[in-house]
């Protein structure tokens, strides 16, 4: 099981913030069955200080994840929640935004650059938007979601991989956090997009008119 690429970027950014002394501690969190511990070990091997595993066999929807993270944030009181902008399995792009909403924290999504001002307790985040780049300033604590160009994640080096085995992974359940993670969405239907049909070369205007009338039914 490998870490979601956008989450890798989030871990890397957190580590860089700690290295520049903007933050003191990096805590990696993952939610799900036993296998997620592998991902947490990777985060620890990259350099995270400790990890929390919210253990559940339940399939988790973005809102459930956001609620669990919100409950954790109220316990841990972090300065910053760094998330990948989306997971490459669901591609939902919702969790970070909903987390900010639940906590009533400011959010800066699709970050391509993050600058923390510890003294002023604020962050300046450059985000990638359709029109180009947008720079926001927000008070901390805040939620930031990462985009591809924010950084290039480091490789976990062997000495750190060995050290990571001794770092603690705390285990919690949704019940302990007081969150109901029952699924609220039901998948009704999944279908492939219609196959793209090849174009047809027509012989004359008359043929075109006939096709537009009889087949496409637009005239």
């Amino acid at each position: 099981m490998s870490m979601n690429p956008f989450c890798e970027i989030a871990v890397e950014e957190a580590l860089r913030l700690r290295e520049s002394k903007a933050v003191d501690e990096v805590v990696a969190v993952s939610l799900g069955p036993q296998q997620v511990q592998e991902t947490l070990r990777t985060a620890l091997a990259m350099g995270a200080d400790r990890a929390i595993h919210v253990s559940t066999e339940q399939q988790l929807e973005p809102l459930a994840v956001a609620k669990l993270l919100a409950a954790l944030a109220r316990r841990e009181q972090p300065l910053l929640c760094l998330l990948g902008k989306q997971a490459i399995d669901g591609d939902n792009n919702q969790t970070g935004q909903m987390l900010a909403g639940l906590l009533s924290w400011p959010q800066a999504t699709f970050a391509s650059k993050v600058e923390l001002d510890k003294a002023a307790s604020s962050a300046k985040v450059t985000r990638e938007v359709d029109g180009g780049l947008e720079t926001l300033s927000c008070q901390l604590p805040a939620v930031i979601t990462t985009d591809l160009r924010l950084n290039e994640p480091r490789y976990a080096t062997l000495p750190n991989i060995m050290k990571a085995k001794k770092k603690p992974i705390a285990k919690l359940t949704p019940q302990e956090l007081g969150v109901d993670v029952t699924q609220q969405l039901v998948t009704l239907q999944v279908e492939e997009p219609a196959q793209r049909k090849g174009g047809v070369v027509l012989g004359s205007v008359a043929e075109l008119v006939e096709k537009l009338h009889k087949e496409a039914k637009v005239i």
């Binding site: 990777t42 480091r154 080096t157 062997l158 060995m162």
Partner: protein, 466 residues
């Protein structure tokens, strides 16, 4: 078609042919035999010894139109295909069916399986899957007189007379033109692990190799090494390639200072890959191996690929060295086999020899698991007689003194025909020449390649005929 991949060898042919069937190849060779027209069989043209391009005006027989996959047996894993199939295409095809090709090399995106066979290509997986002499089950080839030799069986065991297909594997298109291949593929491993390690010295590299063979033996699939100079080339000349062990931050300055080309040439980097059927077992074995090599100091630092993307990036560093050198300028390539403990000594000697030439750099890398060194001398200002004389025959003589091979896997081609004697006795070369004249009496296939001075023998035969 007239120029080789490195830009070092160039012919002046005015005719290229692209047959699409064995029958066409047969007709072409029969005609050329009759008319005494010389031919160069050409695959992906990625050869590194000038064997795939004309020397003068030989007709280029390009096999790229013979690119059909004929069959694949999902139970036995035997692939049958035409000689002009690109290796990467074959890899993708069998991969979808749960198998992998028994060979892998940096040129996979362009090289043909026919060319791989003709050169007995080695590559990154030889350590695990052996040489093509073992994994090729059958061959269809056309003899210089146009005769089609159908040896295309899919049998693992077939001891019926002389194993003629072996004649075409490694003879570099001088005895016949391979038109189809039956090859044994291996099951796709469920678990592939990749470690990238940094070692303080070449002695440490050998220690790691020993540990790897002992603790990872049955799952070990590749052991490669590269020196600091090779790493510098790859990171400087390949866009988007960086050293996986170079960390951003306060350590970076210290790392840059640890320059290469020093007496030891270090730090040295190694790629260790395992392929197995069970991820849990393999990871456990790998952890044991890593703990051992870190404990005895033979590994200073390292990383384990955590995703396919990281694994690909690590392989890109090793596989891209050749390309980076070509981007830098002219390259003198030496592909040598010798006792492992001697390998880096040669690199250091050559480095000293060329130290006074501005911009010229010697790099060492290769299949340390197979005792195969790739010694390259990069000259951004171009090929020069002065540099060539400094290197040859010194490199060949030194290798011969270690009872090594002057061409581990690249073959002889045009480049090494004159120096074949450094690795084969005159009796052996003589028998090769007699076989050549027997099979190709009119000397039409790939003349001037592989064997020294055969054309003289050929002419003698012809005079006798008259």
């Amino acid at each position: 078609m007239n120029k080789d991949w490195m830009g070092k060898y160039s012919g002046s042919s005015s005719l290229g042919l692209r047959p699409s069937s064995t029958e066409q190849v047969s007709q072409i060779l029969a005609y050329c035999s009759l008319r005494r027209l010389a031919l160069v069989p050409q695959g992906g043209n990625t050869g590194l010894v000038g064997g795939s391009v004309p020397v003068f005006d030989e007709v280029v027989l390009n096999m790229s139109a013979m690119n059909k996959i004929l069959s694949f047996d999902e139970v036995s894993g035997v692939l049958v295909c035409q000689a002009g199939c690109i290796l990467q295409t074959l890899e993708e095809h069998v991969s979808q069916r749960g198998y992998i090709m028994p060979l892998d090399l940096g040129a996979k995106g362009s090289c043909h399986i026919g060319g791989n066979l003709s050169t007995n290509a080695g590559g990154l997986r030889l350590l695990r899957y052996g040489s093509l002499h073992g994994s090729v089950l059958g061959v269809e080839a056309v003899l210089p007189d146009g005769t089609v030799l159908d040896l295309l069986r899919q049998l693992r065991k077939d001891n019926t007379g002389y194993d003629l297909k072996q004649l075409f594997i490694g003879s570099e298109g001088t005895l016949g033109v391979i038109t189809a291949v039956a090859i044994q593929c291996a099951p796709k491993p469920a678990s592939v692990q990749l470690a990238f390690l940094s070692c303080p010295s070449f002695a440490a590299v050998q220690q790691v190799l020993r540990h790897a063979k002992q603790s990872l033996g049955e799952i070990l699939s590749a052991v490669e090494f590269l020196d600091q100079e090779s790493m510098a080339m790859a990171t400087q000349y390949l866009p988007g390639v960086s050293n996986p062990l170079a960390q951003a931050g306060p350590d970076a300055a210290q790392q840059q200072q640890q320059g290469g080309g020093g007496e030891q040439g270090g730090p040295f980097y190694m790629v260790v890959e395992t392929q197995g059927s069970h991820a849990g077992h393999d990871k456990e074995k790998l952890e044991g191996f890593l703990e051992a090599v870190m404990a005895d100091g033979s590994v200073a630092d390292g990383t384990l690929a955590e995703s396919q993307a990281q694994a690909a990036a690590i392989w890109r560093v090793r596989e891209g060295i050749t390309e980076s050198l070509v981007r830098r300028g002219a390259v003198y390539k030496y592909d040598l086999s010798m006792p492992t403990h001697k390998m880096y000594e040669l690199v250091q000697l050559v480095r000293q020899q060329v130290a006074h030439l501005p911009g010229v750099k010697a790099v060492g890398y290769g299949h340390v698991g197979d005792g195969n060194l790739h010694l390259n001398v990069s000259s951004p200002s171009g090929y020069s007689d002065e540099l060539e004389q400094l290197l040859e025959p010194f490199v060949y003589e030194w290798t011969a003194q270690q009872s090594g091979s002057i061409s581990a896997e690249h073959g002889i081609g045009l480049m090494k025909a004159p120096v074949l004697g450094y690795s084969k006795s005159s009796e052996a070369v003589n028998l090769m020449q007699r076989l050549k004249v027997l099979m190709d009496p009119h000397q039409i296939l790939n003349p001037y390649k592989v064997l020294p001075g055969v054309e003289h023998m050929g002419r003698v035969e012809m005079y006798d005929d008259r």
